[in-house]
């Protein structure tokens, strides 16, 4: 096996991107704002004092403290899901060398949701543990299927072919999800969450189930980033730099699928977060994936948590599922990308 030698890195990549410090500081500040907003805002508004009180004296037995404990779990959960979706989006874009790749656009989230719904409906699975394995299988099968259809014919997997294959598959699978859902009106609330993603059910238990996949996927994403940079130069150049392109693609794609599959298993299909996070970071940091992938996790966490807060405020006294909010703010990114891209690259 050829060991990648650090000195083969292109010289300009050795420098950190210009705005890195700025983006990092802004990201961390925003993250703080998000967390506070997510703890304090919702159908029951809490004051700063109640917030501090509940955190300093966690044992207090009152209404505000109970709410905050519930919201802490939810916030951590949404940060993790957002981070996973961000990394997943960045990885999928790098692997497919395609700016429009995102788990939701490629239909992977819907595939995961369909498998889970089938599991609930036909195998009577009721606990979140097996959901994750079902969702992972669903996500993997759908990813292979969509990529297979999208890369048929001339030019391999071009953005438009992939996105159409994804949209078609997604439409097909969500019809199936509806068909399975309708007869079971008694449990429709449980099912509803498989059509539109939501972080409302986030608890420490689901988080524990989710964590191993998150850690594995994110670690794989961070570790493959330098080699993925080489892949961006083209398969031949990457092989020339000592990268095993096949293995690398497989690992990165698997990590991307595991991340979005596991997220779908615990939160339902959430659209456009990966696309939004990755493109925001690319806009500020340039193409170097060693920075884009970690910061896409940060951006994804921020975007998802802010969207969740928005959903709670807009939908008050109930809440609007976060999947609806992210579709609304993320779809314009797709439109802008489509407007900007050259006809030939479509």
């Amino acid at each position: 096996m050829i060991v990648p030698i650090p000195t083969t890195d292109p010289p300009q990549a050795a420098h950190a991107p210009r705005h890195l410090a700025l983006v990092l500081v802004a990201g961390i500040v925003l993250l703080g704002v998000c967390i506070v907003a997510s703890l304090a805002l919702g159908s029951k508004m809490l004051s700063w004092q109640q917030l501090m009180n509940a955190i300093v004296h966690p044992g207090t037995d009152d209404y505000a403290t109970a709410i905050i404990h519930k919201r802490i779990a939810r916030t951590v959960f949404s940060l993790c899901c957002g981070g996973a979706l961000g990394v997943s989006g960045a990885l999928m874009q790098a692997v497919t060398r395609n700016p429009i790749a995102d788990p939701s656009i490629l239909g992977v989230n819907t595939g995961a949701a369909l498998f889970v719904v089938c599991g609930i409906a036909f195998l009577h699975i009721g606990s979140p543990g097996p959901y994750i394995s079902l969702a992972l299988v669903g996500a993997a099968v759908t990813a292979v299927f969509v990529f297979g259809i999208g890369s048929l014919g001339r030019g391999g997997p071009t953005p438009i072919k992939l996105i159409l294959a994804g949209a078609a598959t997604s439409a097909a699978l969500s019809s199936l999800v509806s068909a399975i859902m309708i007869p079971r009106t008694d449990v429709i609330d449980q099912f509803r969450y498989w059509q539109v993603g939501s972080v409302g059910s986030g608890s420490w238990d689901t988080l524990v189930l989710f964590a191993p996949f998150l850690v594995l996927g994110v670690a794989a994403g961070f570790l493959t980033a330098p080699a993925l940079n080489a892949l961006a130069l083209g398969d031949e150049a990457a092989s020339g730099l000592g990268v095993r392109t096949g293995t690398l693609r497989a690992i990165a794609a698997l990590a991307g699928v595991v991340l979005c599959g596991a997220t779908t298993a615990v939160a339902g299909p959430i659209a456009f977060v990966g696309l939004l996070a990755t493109h925001l970071m690319r806009l500020f940091l340039g193409p170097d994936l060693r920075y884009v992938i970690p910061l896409a996790a940060l951006a994804g966490a921020i975007v998802l948590t802010l969207s969740d807060v928005c959903g709670r405020l807009i939908g008050s006294p109930g809440e609007l599922e976060v999947g609806v909010v992210t579709a609304f703010i993320g779809a314009p990114i797709l439109i802008i990308l489509a407007m900007r891209s050259k006809v030939r690259s479509l």
Binding site: I160, I163, A165, A168, A327, L334
Partner: protein
């Protein structure tokens, strides 16, 4: 050309013309049969004779109510919506020269749905306002799509991508409105998410019927021009067609039909998308596919509604059935297009 070649051409054309007539008549016959099935079948099955007498206005115990109040509006809604979706979908697909550019894929249906949901569920306006608003919203969506995809050089691929984005946003907006408006009303929600004929009423039908009566003939009259447009912008202009005027007339006609059909039944998934390609396959090249597409649309909607009502223990809304039937075809079409290298 020698006389014999001309004779062969004339003969060939006559043969295709006959084939076209056969397709039209068989589709129409099938549609009639499905219409009667819609009226006769139900929790109680009535004989055709009783149904005909009830339709003629006789008061028969039980039959009159079931047929006139429940089944006739359902059948008519399916009939006209199917026809409208089929023709409008075919118009967009032909005009943009891409079977994927059907109105529900590129967000036009979602624009009309969003407007209709807003009027019906949030503001509770009259039927007239619903119709007008959904038409305006459909036209605005088309204009938005046009202006966004015109920047830089025009390509249908770009238009479809932008349409998918617009569709995603509008669907999110619809989900939000359903959430605040009809939180626990699942049939209503399904009507606006995938289309359903459940709860169709006579009073809702007039706008759709008028639109189909006015615009379907218009689109059919323009269908000769439509087939010229299919040759491409330059060929169409050099054959003496005012391409812009034709296109605007076709778009207005198609959008009005889509909008009113959507306002009546909700966006019945995939009908607008499937009708055109199926009709083109049936009639072949060289003959108008407008009328066949409309008839295929009718047959799809009525057959799917019958399947949805009676094939399973549970009654499924028609949109779920068309979705399940249509999606594999969409994937098949994609595979074929990719193989041929259309993108």
């Amino acid at each position: 050309m020698t006389p014999s070649t001309i004779a062969i051409l004339v003969e060939g054309r006559r043969r295709r013309r006959r084939q076209w007539m056969i397709v039209i008549w068989s589709l129409a016959a099938l549609a009639c049969a499905l219409c009667f099935a819609m009226l006769c079948l139900g929790t109680t099955i009535y004989p055709v004779k009783d149904v005909l007498r009830a339709l003629a206005g006789e008061q028969l115990k039980g039959v009159s109510f079931a047929v006139q109040t429940l089944r006739l509006p359902r059948m008519l809604a399916g009939l006209f919506a199917g026809f409208a979706f089929g023709i409008a979908g075919n118009t967009f697909q032909t005009m943009l020269r891409n079977p994927l550019a059907s109105p529900n894929m590129i967000g036009i249906t979602a624009g009309s749905s969003a407007a209709a949901v807003y009027c019906i569920i949030i503001v509770h306006t009259s039927e007239f306002v619903v119709s007008v608003t959904s038409i305006i919203a459909g036209l605005l969506t088309v204009m938005l799509l046009y202006f966004l995809s015109r920047r830089g050089s025009f390509s249908v691929g770009r238009l479809i991508l932008i349409g998918i984005g617009i569709e995603a946003m509008l669907s999110a907006a619809i989900t939000y409105m359903l959430k605040i408006g009809a939180q626990y009303d699942i049939p209503t929600a399904f009507r606006w998410l995938s289309g359903s004929l459940n709860g169709s009423q006579m009073s809702e039908l007039p706008p759709l019927v008028i639109a189909v009566a006015v615009f379907a003939p218009l689109v059919m009259l323009l269908s000769r021009h439509l087939s010229l447009l299919e040759l491409g912008e330059q060929a169409a202009s050099s054959l003496g067609l005012n391409a812009d005027r034709t296109r605007v007339a076709l778009i207005i006609g198609a959008v009005c039909m889509i909008a009113l059909a959507t306002a009546t039944t909700g966006p019945i998934a995939f009908v607008a998308f499937l009708a055109g390609p199926i009709a083109k396959r049936l009639v072949g090249i060289g003959f108008s596919s407008v009328l066949p597409a409309g008839l295929v649309g009718v047959n799809l909607v009525l057959a799917s509604d019958l399947i949805g009502q009676f094939a399973f223990e549970i009654r499924f809304p028609v949109g779920v059935i068309t979705g399940i039937l249509g999606a594999p075809y969409l994937i098949y079409l994609l595979i074929r297009m990719n193989r041929k290298g259309d993108f």
